[in-house]
Amino acid sequence: MSARLPNVAGVLGLVLLVVWAGSDLYRSSLLVTMLTYALVALGMYVPFVLAGSLSLSYSAYAATGAYAVAIGTAHAGWPLWLGMLVAPPVAAIIAVVLGAATMRLSGFYLGAVTLLFAEAFIQLLGNLGVTGGPSGIVGLPLLSFGGWEPSPQQTVLMAVVLTGVLALALDRLRRSPWGVVIRASREVPIAVDTAGVSVSVLNLVALGAGAAIASLGGALFTTYVGAVNPETFSVNVIFLAVFMPLIGGIGNPWGAVLGAAIVVHLTLNVDSLASSGTLLVSLSVLVILVLFPRGVLGFAGTAARGGTTLLTTVTKRGART
């Protein structure tokens, strides 16, 4: 019962957001940014929250998705959606190759190398010809499926469905046998290894799956905005991707989606003139972590349980009097 609750609330929340955005282009744009972040954060959820492996090259995977769409369209004349299909496997391959090269690393050692990789990747994107160099690739056509051009709302709707489906899938995965094995590998790798699943291989799979999901975030953003450049997914994105699940609550992948919504609201939608979005986000991370240890979802869960108890007591008492 209670395991279903976040799923129901998450789907409901996404539906409400779509209704709220309606045909407003600004709100749609907010929503696309939120979904972009959410996808990157969901990508990070698999290796980071479940497997506990601190891979920090998430800006590179998002950028891979973005460039897959942009390069495919600009150089090969693909439709945008084809790029979106190609992005996940390409990002997964990059992640697995990087993961294999750093196979012996764990914890902060892995974090250090992957962070350096993320920085070098940005540099690489700016130096290659096929990526359009530092000015990147602009002026991509609109999304079109063999002639049908979805409206911005329809595009947003598709992105919402994609994100929702992924969050649901990750939640199921988390509770599945596979999820149990990978969560155990975070705490007691030796126990998993001696039970027959190689933790290094497991981590590679997690890194690949996470990169594939994150690349969808980059692909979505570029599809919607029609442009990409090396700085589009900067190192900042990595830190946001680490923050978002924690803000929302790491107990559930929906926490990452909720965290993305909160971050986007605070940085872009709160109307305090010229205020710093970064300041608002980091302050709220601090407040949330100190006040609601299990993130907003965890807090909501406790509150809901508390509320239910209160409600039942009240109704019982009401029935008696």
Partner: protein
């Protein structure tokens, strides 16, 4: 661009994207202040065509993933035109969006010419001077020193490398030795040692990052004393950065600047800003170019009598010979269908020299372009 609910026909709405808290805050903050003060003055003088100017503002913290949304927000608030005081990377990210949104966008202080190059540049304008003009000025300066072999020290960030490409191509007057340094380097000794080994007649530091520039000047001053040094446009506009240099490290450095007080327009504009900014105020091209951007927009709206994006854009492309408040007297800005960089000729560029107190002493005596108008 008259879709928002606030736009009821008797106001002109200008959207302002200022990076006041991110990596661009150093230059965006003064430029943003200048823009708002200019708009206040326009309003005090009766507005544009009798309509008050209303400012809507956003902050993208120079983060390209945020820029498109911030632009959409301002557009949804009814912006008829945008002034973007943020990084080129953010605007590059939003180019396609701007093309679809169809409202004119000025980047008053941006120095990266890729922004206004095709594709998707129909609505984008810059006031800065093209790097080919910089090359003309540098070549003349090198010539006056008799420098044949010049070391070119640039930060290796992709955008800077791209930015300098045109400049390097145009600097064919000298034998150029290009040396790259990491943009966030904590040390440039290795780069300077390479330069020293090559034995150049002069060094040109080419970066849009003030920290890199100061670190380079400190190191060059220490290790290549006596070799003439040049820098690009940014440093002259950032007095706070001069203070970062070690004592005497900037002495003799020659840099590009955007203003000179021989230009009476500049002096007038400086006096205007000094009224609110106080007596210590020192003008530079962040202020004058922001000022001019507002004036050009005003002129275009008045000429076209509309705030409709496409018509306004056409009117901007009609602006020619606008007398700028920066550069040498008589320096003008013009725009056209295929001219999105405003500067007409090299007279927007002034070479200045630093003194032993690390202060800009005034125009460099070595070379001055012929701009007697």
């Amino acid at each position: 661009g008259s879709s928002g609910d606030d736009d009821n026909g008797d106001t002109v709405v200008i959207g302002l994207v200022c990076d006041t808290t991110g990596p661009g805050a150093g230059y965006a903050t003064p430029a943003c202040t200048a823009t708002k003060e200019t708009i206040d003055q326009v309003n005090a003088d009766g507005g544009i065509d009798g309509k008050k100017v209303k400012v809507v503002q956003g902050n993208d913290e120079s983060d390209p993933t945020k820029t498109p949304t911030v632009i959409q927000k301002l557009v949804s608030q009814g912006a008829d035109a945008l002034l973007m005081l943020t990084s080129s990377a953010g605007v590059l990210q939003a180019k396609s969006l701007i093309e679809r949104t169809k409202i004119p966008v000025f980047m008053p202080v941006a120095a990266n010419p890729q922004v206004t190059e095709p594709p998707s540049n129909t609505y984008l304008y810059q006031l800065g001077t093209p790097t080919s003009d910089w090359a003309t000025v540098y070549c003349a300066a090198f010539d006056s020193l008799g420098a044949k072999k010049v070391a070119f020290l640039q930060d290796s960030s992709p955008s800077q490398v791209q930015f300098n490409k045109g400049l390097i191509d145009s600097l064919d007057c000298v034998d150029l030795d290009v040396v790259n340094g990491a943009i966030d380097a904590t040390d440039l000794s290795a780069e300077v040692a390479k330069i020293k080994n090559a034995g150049p007649d002069a060094v040109l530091v080419a970066t849009q990052n003030a920290n890199f520039d100061v670190l380079a000047q400190n190191t060059l001053h220490q290790q290549l004393p006596g070799v003439p040094r040049f820098t690009e446009l940014l440093l002259s506009s950032l007095p706070s950065a001069w203070a970062q240099a070690q004592p005497g490290a900037l002495e003799g450095l020659v840099g590009l600047a955007g203003t000179t007080d021989t230009n009476t327009r500049t002096v007038e504009v400086a006096q205007f800003f000094a009224e609110t900014e106080g007596a210590d105020f020192r003008v530079n091209n962040f202020w004058t170019q922001s000022y001019d951007a507002v004036q050009i927009l005003k002129q275009a709206i008045e000429e076209s009598g509309t705030t409709d994006g496409e018509k306004l854009n056409a009117a901007i492309q009609e602006v020619t010979g606008f007398v700028a408040s920066s550069g040498y007297p008589g320096f003008t800005l013009s725009f056209g269908d295929d001219k999105h960089l405003g500067a007409d000729g090299i007279c927007g560029l002034v070479l200045v020299e630093w003194d032993k107190d690390n202060q800009v002493a005034g125009p460099w005596s070595g070379y001055e372009p012929d701009c007697a108008a």
